[in-house]
């Protein structure tokens, strides 16, 4: 087990820079998730950590040792790949023991460790099968087993669940979390799925265009997003983002939402005269009880059984431009997530309550959070 220090790592392909000054310390035993949309550089950073890609500049330290120029096999890390990358010509036993064999571990010790890991992952009855004879979930377990038997200082996982169906993904997600709690080995996990990041991570590193947007634990990431991108990326559905121009009077700052005046929990001097991006999470609106309320007309109601998603078209004056929000469609719609909501129909007016203290404010130009 070891801590990992990534010091000012930059990666360029010619004129194209895919990682800008990535700087992070991962504590011993921590489970850190790199999350972000496709092309944000998260997998590149993982490959640099593994030694499969060279950094253009910067250093990687594992357990205090500078491994920047070491070969992947000399870093004492194990990696789980998105497509499993099981050796098709070897049995499960051969796959799991391959890394130990390469390191000259005696056959009896390989056997013991493979059997232990296989039992832990429930694949001990599959040891003599080849990868093509396994289901997707079994292959994923074998890929995990191949990492575990090595007893490395850190695990690197590159979207290991993205090829599984939704049900199995949830199950494996829990299994990996349980495995981490049991083994307590430093783990760096890459995913584009914010739900995986939120449920598994001790800390999340959210990335966009090769730049770290925020490093925080899941709660902080959800309740105190550093910028508009983080706010819209984290949460399912993401945060509602609206354009608003505060008016300041003797009672304080307030904005007009859906034709209703809503007070803002912010020092009026900070927002006076500025255009703002206002954020409100879909789950922070309710059908009853709250200091502020707006009346809306749903355009669509989706029922998921235990909860309903209410879609409301935003008034023109509350829409942000497509440049200001990463997902253009979200600039036109406002989504409310209501548990146990009863009968709600589209086109019928609906009053929604919320606490203005839940409102997030961002500078629409820089995207940075104001509160």
């Amino acid at each position: 087990m070891a801590d990992i220090r990534i010091e000012h790592v930059r990666k360029s392909y010619g004129a194209l820079t895919v990682l800008h000054d990535f700087d992070l310390t991962i504590e011993d035993g921590e489970f850190v998730v790199f999350v972000g949309p496709s092309g944000c550089g998260k997998s590149t950073m993982l490959k640099i950590l593994a030694g499969l890609e060279n950094a253009t500049s910067g250093r990687i330290l594992i357990g205090g040792e500078d491994v920047t120029d070491r070969a992947p096999g000399d870093r004492d890390i194990a990696m789980v790949f998105q497509n499993y990358a099981l050796y098709p010509h070897l049995t499960v036993r051969g796959n799991m023991g391959f890394g130990l064999k390469m390191r000259g571990v005696p056959a009896s010790e390989i056997d013991r460790r493979v059997n232990d890991a296989a039992r832990l992952l429930g694949v001990d009855h599959l040891l003599d099968r080849r990868p093509k004879q396994l289901s997707g979930g079994q292959r994923q377990r074998v890929a995990l087993g191949r990492a575990i038997v090595r007893e490395p200082r850190a695990y690197l996982m590159d979207e290991p669940l993205s090829n599984l169906d939704a049900k199995l993904r949830v199950q494996m997600r829990a299994e990996i979390s349980a495995l981490h709690q049991r083994l307590n080995v430093t783990t760096v996990y890459v995913t584009h799925d914010q739900t995986e990041a939120m449920t598994m991570a001790n800390r999340i590193v959210i990335m966009r265009d090769g730049t770290i947007q925020q490093i925080a634990d899941p709660e902080t990431m959800f309740y105190k997003p550093a910028n508009l991108f983080v706010a819209s990326f984290i949460g399912s559905p993401g945060m509602n983002l609206l354009s608003a121009k505060p008016k300041v009077d003797e009672s304080g700052a307030a904005v007009e939402l859906f034709g209703t005046r809503v007070p803002l929990p912010v020092d009026p001097a900070r927002v006076n005269g500025h255009n703002l991006a206002l954020g409100l999470r879909p789950e922070h609106l309710t059908l009853a009880g709250g200091p502020a309320s707006v009346t809306v007309t749903p355009t669509l109601v989706e029922s998921l059984g235990s909860e309903k998603y209410i879609y409301v078209s935003l008034p023109e004056e509350n829409r942000l431009s497509a440049d200001e929000v990463s997902d253009g469609r979200r600039s036109e719609q406002f989504i409310v997530r209501l548990p146990e909501a009863g009968a709600i129909r589209a086109s019928e007016p609906l009053t929604l309550y919320f606490d203005p203290a839940r409102i997030h404010l961002f500078d629409p130009a820089s995207g940075a959070a104001i509160i």
Binding site: M79, Q82, P88, M102
Partner: protein
């Protein structure tokens, strides 16, 4: 989508006709070997001789140094294939995996060399082999065949390596292999079907050669290959087609066995199961 009975009938009919067209020359070669010389000109032709001469095969083996020629052909083909694979495997792998400066152009140059007719290379190769003192030696044929096999086999292998996910090598490297170790321990075993197909292609190319053997080996009878030897069995005025056909039938046997041996590799999808 299920086929209708009519579609199935048409499909099987087409398959039978095509197979018939492909197999008939081999069948006729076999019939010619077993027939008496005068029966070959009979009209209408007989599709099975009245008195098949099964002893013809023993006769040709006794009369002609067929086994020596066979040995030479096998050595030439194995040598050429072995040499070609030693060159083509790293070349194809490098073209597939590494972003080389001018790599695309290099690949095209290699492929273009395959477009040159074999006869174009005969004279320069003859001059080179004469200077090296290799004329009459089996090495001349091995090297000449390798010049034909290497360009195309490099491209075949590059294409095959392209289909193998790079994550397999990356996993092997994380597991402790060097890049070359990952290629040898993981990529090559997984590439068995591609290697088999490429080796077979090279073997057949070498086995079927006549021009190079005729040019480089004419003066050294002890090194004649099967094709060269068989052509000398044709007389100036009279040719015993039964004997020649029997020799040809025997010449096809090694290739047939190699096809049978490599079939499982050719059709096997070795990478099945490595990914999702």
């Amino acid at each position: 989508m299920r086929r209708t009975p009519l579609q199935s009938l048409a499909l099987y009919g087409a398959v039978i006709v095509i197979c018939g067209i492909l197999v008939f020359p081999i069948y006729w070669l076999f019939i010619t070997a077993l027939s008496q010389p005068d029966a070959l000109r009979a009209m209408p032709p007989k599709f099975w001789p009245e008195h098949p001469n099964w002893g013809i095969f023993a006769e040709v083996l006794n009369d002609k140094p067929l086994l020596l020629w066979l040995k030479n052909s096998v050595l030439a083909a194995l040598g050429a294939v072995g040499l070609s694979m030693v060159v083509s495997i790293p070349a194809g792998y490098a073209l597939s995996r590494f972003r080389l400066r001018g790599g695309e152009s290099l690949g095209l140059v290699i492929l273009t060399s395959k477009m040159l007719p074999a006869t174009l290379l005969v004279i320069p190769l003859f001059v080179i082999f004469r200077q090296l003192g290799l004329l009459g030696s089996l090495w001349s044929v091995i090297l000449a065949h390798a010049t034909l096999i290497v360009p195309f086999s490099t491209w075949m292998l590059k294409g095959y390596f392209d289909t193998i996910p790079q994550e397999l090598e990356q996993a092997a490297m994380v597991d402790g292999c060097s890049p070359i170790g990952a290629m040898i321990r993981v990529v090559l075993p997984v590439s068995a079907p591609g290697l088999a197909a490429t080796a077979l292609y090279g073997f057949v190319l070498s086995w079927a050669d006549y021009a190079y053997a005729r040019t480089f080996l004419t003066s050294a009878q002890q090194n004649w290959t099967l094709n060269l030897g068989i052509t000398t069995m044709r007389g100036e005025y009279i040719s015993n087609w039964a004997i020649i056909s029997a020799a040809c039938v025997l010449a096809t046997i090694p290739v047939l066995f190699i096809y049978l041996f490599l079939e499982r590799y050719l059709v096997g999808g070795m990478t099945a199961g490595s990914e999702k």
